[in-house]
Amino acid sequence: MSEQSLLQIRNLSIDFPSRAGTVHAVADVSWSVGRGETLAILGESGSGKSVSASAVLDLVDTPPAVIANGEILYRGRDLLKATRGERRAINGRKISMIFQDPLAALNPVYPVGWQIAETLRVHGVDKATAHARVIDLLKKVGIDDPERRAKQYPHQFSGGQRQRIMIASAIALEPELLIADEPTSALDVTVQAQVLALLKELQAESGMGIVLITHDLAVVEKVADRVIVMQAGRVVEAGTATEIMNSPQHPYTRRLLDAMPGRHGFATELSASDGNVLLEVDKVSRIYGIEPGKIAEAGPKAIRAVDEASFTLRGGETLGIVGESGSGKSTLARMLLGLDHPTAGTIRFDGKDLNGMSAADTFKVRRRMQFVFQDPTASLNPRMTIEQIVSEPWAIHSDVLPKREWRAKAVDLLERVGLKADHIDRHPHQFSGGQRQRIAIARALALQPEVIVCDEAVSALDVSIQAQVIDLLKQLRSDLGLSYIFIAHDLALVRDFATDVIVMYRGQIVEQGHTQEVYSNPKHDYTKRLLIASMAHIPKAA
């Protein structure tokens, strides 16, 4: 194998020295990839999976990092011994890379065509040829009207299109190896499938090797030939994709597999309809560009973010709202949180219309309905300590708890969500993503609410962490009798958590019902598509 391998990493170690001691981001890691082969590097945030791959393209900054040991052999030649210029000549031409978040990874101020052409131009292709090639490439990755769209800017494309553009740029010079760092994590499930299919197709055409870095087992299952599993900078398991998926050896791999959403039964332990109606959403619409109350004037150009959505939430219920980007689920969430107001329709909480309420009443309702947002990094103020963050609800609703009790109560809450008391003086960045989300949940619990709205609360987390957080939410549900509105783009996620499900598509609710009914008997086309895209990888065995 080593004979035909394109790229071979041997005993690579990368350290980050710090005052608190050296962190071994990558420790004695070896892997290789050959032509036409797809190697998946599986691991969670901080496992070092990206660092080793970034080192191939000289993207690891030294300092602060130190490449302590090892070799990176490209066609037998050690890249670590090559000059900067030699490595630049390989980057983009022989080995190229695509990244997780295509919006961030594309330069916002240059047209996408220019950016694709740049790859060609830096490696000596003349301008005219490059332009023609850009159009071909855009066509190839499935962008319509490439002549026109080449002149557009990244923000004018959807997430999936952007990743296609990234791919076009990466394959522009038909590299022998493509390193894809979480290429689909930021995309909707249906789009994920398309992008992965595109990569496979391109590989089949050109025979390039692919190194796929991912935390998502589903992705591994779909495209990988071989897999290495990394944990804390080390390779803990290696084998073919089938081997790993079906008979994982290392406990960590097993845990990962076990944490995959949708592997457990439906959330049937709770019967849905016994509670009283807490929240009633009645024909709520949000149309941008017109005045509230003048819905009749909405012309064809008006953007109907939410179109006549109706549903109810009862005490103890967990309502999953599923849909992809642009389906209107986030707008709906914003309206529930009072950050946006319906153009038409009413939202009633405990029988009272949220819209017609006095400021004081709205303020009171807020106490009973809390939320957890998608990105815990962003939703916690980085400059506040955990104590300040968890106590903030009491600071805002000043009559709930006297100030001297805040700290003790905050410690209680932290312990309740599985954190330690001595975490209280730290800042958010000192925690992992999962821990941060626990902090956000602790904050949501501070006012002892009845409803918690979770807006993509686990989407940004690694799979195993997702499972832990959902377990926590379940625990709290049974302990405190909470109701949830759980917004997600992945049907698999809500399957074993939500009692009821709403599927949204282009602003409308296309399907709604008890979870089990919707999953076993989807009626709307879109629901079916969504189910296929997100559930297909669930091993039959489960």
Binding site: R19, R367, D375, P382, E392, A460
Partner: protein, 318 residues
């Protein structure tokens, strides 16, 4: 508008999470000192500023008489000579007064003027900028147009007019300098707020029912602070120089009050014959400026919990 929040997807490349610096044995002050020690240039800056501050507080009390004692015999005495006593080590001015004593005594007015003018414009401009950024409607528009109007009013002219209408006392100089610098803070803060207010934690605070004041001052203001502090550090220099420029035009602080700016401006008449008259106060202005900026850079890192780790990494590969 044009936010360019760094992608969250590259967290893995960030330095690994580190145990917090804080340990119960070390007090907050000691901790701050320790962090200061980690940045040698900031440390030196802090010592220098402390010295200047000390001079500003006790200098006039200690040396007021020496700074005023006219001795026409020692007029423009050259520096680096101890024959007239240590006070004349930096030389003497056109009236034979000790430059060293005058620089020390002048530090009080200089710091009071520059400090209050910058603090004033920083606070007023900062708060208005917060409002202008957060409330984009007509309030924001009016604030911006007001800033435009002040900005397009030539600041020297404004200063001259105001100082003619009122007398060029210290308070009025401060007022004039502060007013003309408000737009800078307003615009800078506004631009930052436009970005920060879209962040999730602001949304979170609003969803919790936080009132506008709380969102602005508890959540947004601390985020803007580093930029404002850095700007303020540069503005201190600017204000000292404008103040000097006013003296150049003869409308700044009036003797017997003295500032570094006034000393530089007065000394310019002797640049050909006695360079030290305006050189030393000029050096004082430069040193304070550089020290403030180095310190503000340090402060920016140290007050940012996310950046504080930089002081914990081992420099280089020792």
């Amino acid at each position: 508008m044009h936010s360019s929040t760094p992608a969250s997807g590259i967290t893995e490349m960030a330095p690994p999470l580190i145990v917090p610096v804080k340990s119960s044995g070390r007090g907050a002050a000691r901790n701050a000192l320790w962090l200061l020690w980690q940045d040698k240039s900031a440390f030196v800056s802090a010592i220098l500023l402390a010295l200047v501050l000390g001079a500003a507080i006790i200098g006039p009390w200690l040396l007021a008489d020496q700074a005023r004692a006219v001795n026409l015999m020692a007029r423009n005495a050259a520096p680096f000579s101890l024959s007239k006593g240590w006070l004349f080590f930096l030389g003497a001015d056109a009236l034979g007064r000790s430059l060293l004593a005058r620089i020390i005594v002048a530090s009080q007015n200089t710091i009071v003027i520059a400090g209050s003018a910058v603090l004033l414009s920083m606070h007023v401009g900062g708060v208005l900028g917060l409002i202008a950024g957060y409330k984009e409607g007509w309030i924001g528009a009016i604030l911006l147009r007001m800033a435009d109007a002040i900005m397009s009013f030539p600041s020297m002219l404004l200063a001259v007019i105001v100082l003619f209408v009122f007398s060029p006392g210290i308070e009025n100089v401060i007022f004039v300098l502060a007013v003309s610098r408000i737009p800078i803070f307003l615009r800078t803060v506004r631009a930052e707020v436009l970005e920060i207010k879209e962040r999730m934690f602001v949304t979170a605070a609003r969803a919790m029912g936080a009132k506008t004041e709380r969102v602005l001052f508890r959540h947004i203001a601390p985020m803007v602070m580093p930029t404002v502090i850095n700007l303020a550090a540069l503005e201190v220099a600017f204000v000292m120089l404008v103040e000097s420029g006013l003296s150049f035009l003869g409308i700044g602080i009036q003797p017997p009050e003295v500032t570094w700016g006034l000393m530089v401006a007065d000394g310019r008449n002797y640049l050909g014959s006695a360079w030290w008259l305006s050189f030393w106060p000029g050096v004082a202005i430069m040193m304070v400026t550089i020290a403030l900026n180095l310190l503000s850079n340090w402060l920016r890192l140290v007050t940012d919990p996310v950046e504080r780790w930089r002081f914990q990494t081992v420099a280089g590969a020792k």
